[in-house]
């Protein structure tokens, strides 16, 4: 009787010890460096990549060309009915779109591009330039600002300048309305939103 009790106790004790070892092994936390689509570290990297693409695009003129890639007669961006570019061939039309695709598509990262301008009440209006879907909760955003002047020319479908200026255009104000009468047309905020698909 005593021996049986001891045996049972030994078994129970070994189960307790085994369970605590298993518990200790399983107790690992999701830390910021744990591999995960929701990782802060990855968001930071994506944000930095997007900011880098914007800087490069500003330097090589792709940003200017994108903001003024406007079909004067139809009153839309070239080759779209409105609401921005969605498919790969459409995104590939502009140098900015090509740069973003080259940077992000192979890494499974989606991106949206918006142009924003201020209204008289101080709020921002966002227009879609490239729209690839609803961003996830873990999206990162990079922004930059482009100044438009009255005599800046619009770009044609091949991204070469035309003789129509932003102020001389009869339809460009549907995208960005003029803000001042001093030679400055408006200042556009370009926002790139990136997220892991």
């Amino acid at each position: 009787m005593r021996a049986q009790a001891h045996t049972l106790e030994a078994v129970a004790a070994s189960i307790v010890i085994l369970a605590s070892v298993v518990f200790a092994l399983q107790v690992t936390a999701v830390t910021p460096l744990s591999a995960s689509t929701a990782s802060q570290h990855i968001e930071n990297q994506q944000q930095a990549s997007a900011a880098g693409v914007l800087d490069a695009a500003r330097e090589n003129g792709a940003l200017d060309a994108a903001v003024r890639y406007w079909d004067e007669t139809n009153g839309t961006f070239h080759g779209t009915a409105g609401a921005g570019y969605t498919t790969d061939p459409e995104v590939n039309r502009t140098a900015l779109g090509r740069m973003l695709l080259d940077t992000f598509e192979a890494r499974g990262v989606a991106f949206n591009v918006y142009f924003a301008y201020p209204t008289d009440t101080g709020t921002l209006v966002r227009e879609r330039f490239i729209y690839r879907g609803e961003p996830s909760d873990n999206a990162a955003t990079a922004t930059t600002t482009v100044a438009l002047y009255d005599d800046d020319p619009l770009y044609d479908a091949n991204e070469t300048t035309t003789n129509v200026t932003v102020n001389g255009s009869s339809t460009y104000d549907a995208l960005i309305p003029p803000e001042s009468s001093t030679g400055l047309y408006n200042a556009v905020r370009v926002e790139v939103v990136v997220w892991r698909m």
Binding site: N60, E159, S180, G183, L184
Partner: protein, 415 residues
Amino acid sequence: MANVSEDRSRAQLLLVGALALAVVFLSLSLLLNSVIYTENLATRQTHADAEKATEFRLAAVDGLDGAIEHANRRNTTAFADRRDAYRDAVDSWVPILANYSATDGMATDVEPDELHEGTRIVGANNTTGLVRGDGAGDWTVATDSKVRRFRLHVDPSTVGTGDEVRITFDDGTTRTVVIENPGSGPRVRIERPGPDPTCSLSDGRIDIGTGRVDGEYCPGLADARPTGNGAVSIANGDQVTATYSLVVDRHQDGFRTDVDTENYPTQCTPPSTPTYGTSSADDPYTTPAIYAATAEIGASTRDLDYRRTIRAAPDEAGDPASEPTFTQFLVTQSGNDFTVDWNTDDPNGDIDHVDVRVYYRTNDTLYASETSALESGTETFANVPDEAYYVNGTVTDAASSRRVSEIHDAGGCPP
């Protein structure tokens, strides 16, 4: 009794064991917590504010670039008009930029500072080529200048087989941009040490400032940009038709006479047909223009106070232009007396002295020389013998000098 004491010691053992386990688990959770906190700190973007400030600086430089180009494109001959247009544009752009920055949690200000006056050269007539005022195609565009934003629009259909228009930049190193047609169609070739890169030309837009042909990056073209002070000359410019514009860092007054002396070495100043006209009806013409601009920018967030001076000079290559320039160099001749009035300016404000020298034109020997420590002044050379002379002004600052040369003849012009 023995049994009772055995039970007690077992209970004590259980109690101590449970306590030990509790301490182990607590310390484990503490350890894990500190790991999470450390990794959180390690991945936190402490430089996010600095990144925002840098982005703001880039946007500010870009905005100033745009304002300079906007002001320079105006059809006017007065620098004051360009300056006002520039200030108006900047003044209306600053609040919008500040508004955007505020949404990012950053308070910003932009205070326009100085403007560096230069000269814009424009050949806007699309029925002529790269020619000077009298129509000659072999000529000097600029002497001893920093050149920025050199753009050409060549009509590709006029680039015939065998044509070879040469634009040469010489800032100590010579590089030549050649517009030619070897039979396979118009192209741009860059002559430099080593193999010559070529880029085909279909639309005709050559942007030497950004190194682009027809909007596409052309590998050797960006390297052809002069990075220092130098001369720009054109050969066979009459073989094609083209429009072009460029900006140099010298004041219009001294620049025009210096280029005229280079182009017309046998005529008195001013020559019968100057190299450049002065109104937009002439081809080509010069106007006073903004070469560069500086501004003070500031950005502050909760953790960061960022303040610096920015400088905008669109497409300038190399170091910022700091060479002095003559804002006036006027030689008045009355009989055999030469009176020279001069005024100078220097972007970095360290003019050392001004030399005015008169040379015999026939053998380049010195007739008379005056040195002045004043930034502006007058020198008179009286009773100069009947001969042809170069009247040269040289302004020297701590690191460099600039020269203006005129040709005058005490015996009557042309020499």
